[in-house]
């Protein structure tokens, strides 16, 4: 896709950013809001990460050393909730805000005031969630999947605050998604047909539809919990004629599309980066779009593979096994496309490319363990063990989170006008890469050997590799401080970036100055 931009210098009395704190409070500018989202998600990444450090410190050795089981359960619950809803999702929304208008040649998001609102209610939600740590009875302690009745009849009183926080997060996500859909559907530059859209935009269009479809389901689940806890209903209470398994069906009908919400934008990012640093047009642009669409559609009919052990009838087990295995086909297509893009390319290995390649390799490993988990009889052994923990961390950490880091390195010259420090970037990559594998690879083994997940203590045969895993986690955790340093250093200054930034970069965002002006594309560019 080639892009031509008509550069009309527009009236200079037009405004730049306001000064001071109000710039951030009242801003309706997609770049400012993108920045807010990204910093917020990084703060949450550090908080959720600190909780992971507590977990790994406790698991460093068998026995209870650092925390009590009650507090351990609060840590694992908040770690999951914060990483999913506070770190990964807002980071992708931040990237969407920064990039979608520039990529489709629009001046801003379609609904800028709602954009402001959807960001600013997020810190409120997480303030409420985190404040539950200081409440009587402690924070939510029932895992990020909050299965009833552990999360209803048997929950600490703070569960009500948790429900309120989830409602706010859901509202924020829905507003953000509507904004993305409306922007993409209405504000593309003339000539940019749907099939010419950059893949990051495509991935977000699909993600946004998934979010709009499933966040209300999550809201329904927590509302039913609220009713059970405070208004005497028995949706999930067997003693009152309710059904605890119903909760799991509702939760995973949200939850499975949710895990693809956390990976689809990563597919988009990876496609751009591999294309750029291979200096070769992405292989199979059209099949990428169809692969993402099929993954999204399939995500609605596989939810019960999280529930193979709840006692579903045989027919249901078979259906969900087959449907889940099918997902390997479009996912495979994506991986093959990336590899073929690199084949006969002209490749260099800047930091974004390192993260993107690591993404492809390690995400594929996560995909393999996913395929193994789909085999229902084998899942009876894998389910709720560290094998599952290893699986979903492989798709989320070197998957979603590596793609976010890759995106930051890739686009930060466009955002700040400065190049990041390549030497430090590579150091950050290698530390993270080693850390992530040392942490999560041994977890496959301890899971297969029989260690259940969500336990604060374990039998002696799991001791050695838990210690290795903890050492890896501390290394990975510490490396992220380096990431923070690199980002701040780049924001403060550095080698000036050209508008193109990267030799092989394609797309409208590389046609504007670096840093991108506060308002871009007041006049839409023409795409041919």
């Amino acid at each position: 896709m080639s892009a031509v931009i008509e550069t009309h210098d527009h009236d200079d009395h037009h405004h730049g950013p306001a000064a001071g704190l109000t710039r951030w409070l009242y801003t309706t500018n997609h770049k400012d809001i993108g920045t807010l989202y990204l910093w917020f998600s990084f703060a949450m990444f550090l908080i959720g990460g600190a909780m992971a450090m507590v977990i790994r410190a406790e698991l460093f050795q068998p026995g209870m050393q650092i925390v009590e089981p009650e507090f351990y359960n609060q840590m694992l619950t908040l770690h999951g909730l914060i990483m999913v809803f506070g770190a990964v999702m807002p980071a992708f929304v931040g990237l969407a805000n920064w990039l979608i208008p520039m990529m489709v040649g629009a001046p801003d998001m379609a609904l800028p005031r709602m954009n402001n609102l959807s960001f600013w209610i997020l810190p409120v939600a997480f303030f409420i969630l985190l404040s539950s740590l200081f409440m009587e009875g402690g924070a939510p302690n029932f895992g990020w999947t909050f299965y009833a009745p552990l999360s209803t009849t048997y929950a600490p009183p703070s569960v009500t605050f948790f429900i309120f926080a989830v409602h706010i997060m859901g509202a924020s996500s829905i507003m953000g998604s509507i904004n993305v859909v409306v922007t993409i559907m209405n504000m593309r530059a003339p000539g940019m047909t749907l099939m010419k859209m950059p893949l990051f935009v495509w991935s977000w269009l699909i993600t946004a539809y998934l979010l709009i479809a499933v966040m209300p389901v999550l809201a329904g689940a927590v509302t039913m919990m609220l009713m059970d806890i405070h208004f005497g209903t028995s949706f999930f209470n067997a003693a009152g004629g309710g059904d605890p398994v119903l909760f799991q069906h509702i939760f995973w009908f949200f939850g499975h599309p949710e895990v693809y919400i956390m990976i689809l934008p990563a597919f988009g990012i990876t496609s751009h980066i591999i294309e750029t640093f291979s200096r070769k047009q992405l292989f199979g642009h059209t099949s990428m779009v169809w692969a993402m669409t099929s993954i999204a559609i399939l995500s609605f009919v596989v939810w019960a593979h999280h529930m193979f052990t709840v006692g579903l009838p045989l027919a249901a087990e078979l259906f969900f096994m087959w449907a889940t295995m099918l997902i390997a086909v479009p996912t495979g297509v994506k991986v093959f496309n990336w590899v073929t893009t690199m084949f006969k390319g002209s490749i260099t290995y800047e930091t974004p490319m390192l993260f993107a390649i690591a993404f492809v390799v390690l995400f594929t490993i996560g995909g393999f363990s996913g395929l193994m988990l789909a085999i229902t009889p084998a899942d009876f052994q894998y389910h709720d063990t560290y094998f599952v923990v290893a699986h979903f961390h492989y798709v989320l950490v070197p998957g979603a989170i590596f793609s976010i880091m890759a995106a930051v390195y890739y686009w930060i010259p466009k955002w700040t006008g400065n190049m990041y420090d390549e030497r430090l970037g590579r150091l950050h990559f290698w530390l993270s890469f080693i850390g992530v594998n040392v942490t999560f690879f041994p977890q496959h083994w301890i899971g297969l050997a029989g260690m259940p997940r969500r336990v604060p203590d374990y039998a002696l045969q799991f001791a050695d590799w838990n210690m290795v895993s903890s050492v890896g986690a501390f290394l990975f955790g510490a490396s992220q401080i380096l990431f923070l340093f690199i980002v701040i250093k780049t924001v403060m200054g550095g080698k000036k970036a050209t508008p193109e930034v990267w030799e092989g970069a394609r797309g409208l965002e590389w046609t504007v100055d670096s840093p991108a002006p506060y308002h871009t594309f007041s006049t839409p560019p023409k795409v041919s």
């Binding site: 026995g63 089981p69 359960n73 009875g137 402690g138 302690n141 299965y147 009745p149 009849t153 048997y154 600490p156 067997a238 605890p244 398994v245 291979s278 070769k280 199979g284 642009h285 099949s287 709840v310 006692g311 045989l314 078979l318 096994m321 087959w322 295995m325 099918l326 390997a328 086909v329 297509v333 991986v335 590899v339 690199m342 084949f343 006969k344 002209s346 490749i347 390649i357 594929t364 393999f368 395929l371 193994m372 085999i375 229902t376 009889p377 084998a378 009876f380 052994q381 389910h383 709720d384 301890i446 050997a449 029989g450 969500r454 203590d457 374990y458 039998a459 002696l460 045969q461 590799w465």
Partner: protein, 383 residues
Amino acid sequence: MFKNATTSVNKSLAAIFLSIFTSPLFAAWSDLNMTQGVTAISKEVFGLHMLIFWICVAIGIVVFGVMFYSMFAFTKKKNPNASTFHENTSLELAWTIVPFLILVLMAVPASNTLTKIYDDTEGDINIQVIGYQWKWEYRYLEDNIGFFSNLTTDIDEIYNRTPKGEHYLEEVDEAVVIPVGKKIRFLITANDVIHSWWMPDFAIKQDAIPGFINTAWTIVDKPGTYRGKCTELCGKNHGFMPVVVKVVPQDEYDLWVAGKKEAALKMAELTEKTWTAEELVQRGEGIYQKNCVACHQSNGAGITGIFPALAGSDIVLNNKARHLEILMEGVQGAAMASYANQLSEVDMAAVITYTRRSWGNAENGDGEIVVPTDIVDYKKPKV
């Protein structure tokens, strides 16, 4: 001189690798894989696991092979001008259809095994398994015997005050006993929250869900003690409710059943006996340690905000009737479950008496005791 240096580097590298693979970390490599287990089904499951594993490895070698080759062969230095191809319909069709066929090949044996696992005909012996926070109850439906199975690992081992034993966190006071060669059917449910009963050596993992009865079956031919765990987060002591199954020859099993029945008769005699307060307190302390400390703590102080204190509680001090009622019925909408079926009449009376006379409760309250016949009376149908 250089040559020497390289050889010594090589030697030390070799030494490092050797020491890694002979270190305790890798000593039991087979412990890092799924267990093959001891039943026909568990071996089939293991076979499926290895089959899908090797399929993944093969795919991985091909995909990563092409990828790593590209990474080395097509750097900007070696290949300054990238090719321009970006589509190839037949290639794309091939890598859609071939994986699909591999998946079909995989789905066939998996579906077969699953169908076998789903055989839910009656067993020779039917055992009801009930999950509680945080222990398991087993009821043998034919022989009308039952018992609870609690973790026996000492609290001092858990808190690192004494060395950990061989079966740390995998030992219980009373294991499920089953005979070899018989079809055992487990009917799995729960009393409070969702638990999950996992016995890796039988490849059984079934969630224990209040209001539902899930079934699982096994035939074990090899006597032995097998260890598993609860695998669904069920509250704070989720990591401390193991599953232990002892598989024994038929005659040994018959003896065990007879012994259990006799013990039940003895218990009935104990109920009729006249108890003193001291005897009850003495017996009650053990019951309390096993059943109550997890929430109410060994000093009776509970945990503020979640689990009420028993020391100085108004009910424990002065309201014997309500105290009895709470233990027999549980508390609606709270974590306190009914213990009516978990404790014998003797143990129930003993534990209530223990709490009423410990931590200064006897001095501050009426100090009234409860005797086993009180429990028998409570259980009689009210007119």
